[in-house]
Amino acid sequence: MDVKKILHVMRHAPHGTVYTYEGLEMILMMAAYEQDLTVVFIGDGVYALKKEQDTTDIGVKGYARTFAALGDYDVEKLYVDRISLEERGLTEEDLEVGVEILDSETIGRLMKEQDVVIHH
């Protein structure tokens, strides 16, 4: 069977819309198919990884920690766009999950290598 390079681009802040949550569900399912998966957080997508999210009072389920569990499903390549993080006044220490922070040029080349790119 072909192994395809599939990139998931997380672009939305959590909770305001379902895109990040349903995107995460898609990544978890694809992880079972032994493809070459990468997840990159760009723009408001970086907010999905913010520490100390407590969704109790808005009455929805939180899921920031599920990103940390992706490693258990052999999804190891999690990257964060440096500029997106910086312009939001955040640093690596603000993130719930261990990720690699990359510059735009590196992410751009990574995108170009993919067979499939899905934005969430």
């Binding site: 909770h15 305001g16 819309t17 379902v18 808005i58 009455g59 929805v60």
Partner: protein, 119 residues
């Protein structure tokens, strides 16, 4: 104070349904009257009883039904918006109804406030 709510986004897809519900709850708790929740655009999808979310998640349609039963809040879906999105009387939640935009106008007129939630 008498309050009408206009909800313009579908359930789960956008937080608007949750914020509208939490706002309505708080208003009732403080002694105000929530007269009606009018569903427009994708908001009409809030009113389908076919919704079947995971057990450990909130059930948005049932919450609207409960709000109607317990506090008399009218849950009204715009007919034109509903038809485009496959919502009709057959799938309507208990306590919900399909109506026209004239009803929204009445809601805007008879309430002290009309609050919109959407995207």
């Amino acid at each position: 104070m008498k309050i009408g709510i206009l909800l313009k986004q579908g359930p789960y897809n956008h937080q608007a349904s949750d914020t509208a519900y939490k706002f309505a709850e708080a208003a009732i708790r403080k002694g105000h009257t929530v007269d009606a929740v009018f569903l427009y655009n994708d908001g009409v999808i809030n009113a389908t009883k076919l919704m079947d979310p995971p057990q450990d998640d909130r059930h948005i349609a049932e919450r609207w039904s409960d709000l109607n039963r317990e506090h008399g809040v009218e849950i009204l879906a715009c007919i034109a918006a509903s038809k485009r999105r496959g919502i009709n009387e057959d799938v309507m939640i208990k306590g919900g109804a399909i109506t026209g935009l004239g009803t929204l106008t009445d809601i805007a007129i008879r309430n002290d406030r009309l609050i919109t939630f959407g995207d």
